[in-house]
Symmetry: C2
Subunit: 211 residues, 2 copies
């Protein structure tokens, strides 16, 4: 497939567009204008056209985009035509919420294993999963053919754990630990920091109050 | 204060820089180079210098940035010199994780109220908080002087709830519901979609496999 590198912010918007395209598909719509897509995704139609021009135009002037073709193409680009096997590293409260986050499964991400270091948690069940000892992380990654790890630990143990993950062949990590991880080239880490999300709001409030 | 509008992506990086500056402060460092900051934040020194140039230079050639001055200035910009009162709308598992997310309090965001519609949850305690009936949302917003709402509900009720929030004077919403919310001008909504985060990883995997 076409592999021109797309910016992270564009990838995110494509994922958002896909959600609305699928919503339109469910409602039986065949075509969609860049204006409608922009309105739903909270951006401009110029941005939509620019984002979609990255991989060839599906829009016809006056007719809009073909909903099915565009949704299929975005799924291809995002790698959503296959499923991914995910390990949760850390079995705290946030991990417990993620296990029940229905949209992961709906998008093709299957949480197949959860590990923790706490003897009180190891062996207990979370739905279909049994929390495993983090000591066996390397074996689990191989046996379960893990594609992606979600790191949901405090900052302290995070770097040592990501070192073990990458040494064991995991190449994609979603990191909730509040620390910047160092990884070899070829490994992708995406950081989620929920406090940073709130700080974009405090910035907005501060900016408004001041203006 | 200076109110030139800064892009969302820049605001995020400033929040990340602040974390490392504070870490350096705790270790007693007085100055820090743009290279060190870039290395810790996973970006380039050119990007750091560009980001920091938005609000005047704190760097001296060959000496680096003054850690204390720069941290203080970023706190000002981000509106982190005051505290914010936050209501959690929805008392599911993710909300339960957010209530215990220590970094919120550490950054000045105090969750002072949790509401839900489930009679089985209303009246039960989460630490110091008692889950309140969402029917009283407007009264709670006024009495508790709420600055920010975190919406942690399914997609279905989200728009009606955000309408009630904005009508009641809440101007900043962190939205975890998997739906694009429509709000009047002057209201800031930031969306967190954890599946989209995973999709930036599946894109990266797909891109690597294909190249």
């Amino acid at each position: 497939m076409h592999t021109r590198k797309i910016a992270d912010s564009t990838v995110r918007r494509l994922a958002i567009y896909l959600r609305f395209l699928e919503e339109f598909e469910r409602h039986g719509a065949d075509t969609l204008s860049s204006e409608s897509l922009a309105s739903r995704a909270g951006t401009t139609s110029a941005q939509v056209r620019k984002d979609l021009s990255f991989f060839g135009s599906f829009g016809k002037r006056g007719l809009g985009y073909d909903v099915h073709a565009l949704a299929g193409q975005i799924r291809n680009i995002l790698g959503l035509t296959r499923r991914y096997r995910v390990v949760l590293v850390g079995a705290g409260r946030l991990a417990g919420a993620l296990v029940q986050y229905a949209e992961f499964g709906a998008r093709g991400f299957d949480i197949v294993s959860v590990v923790d270091q706490d003897p009180a948690k190891i062996g207990t069940r979370w739905g279909d999963l049994t929390i495993a000892d983090v000591a066996g992380l390397e074996r689990i990654i191989a046996q379960e053919r893990i594609d992606i790890a979600i790191l949901v630990t405090p900052a302290g143990p995070a770097q040592a754990l990501v070192d073990r993950l990458t040494t064991s062949g995991v190449t994609a990590v979603l990191n909730f630990a509040p620390v910047q991880l160092h990884v070899p080239a070829g490994i992708d880490v995406k950081n989620v920091n929920l406090a940073v999300e709130l700080e974009t709001l405090s910035y907005a409030i501060q900016h408004r109050d001041a203006s």
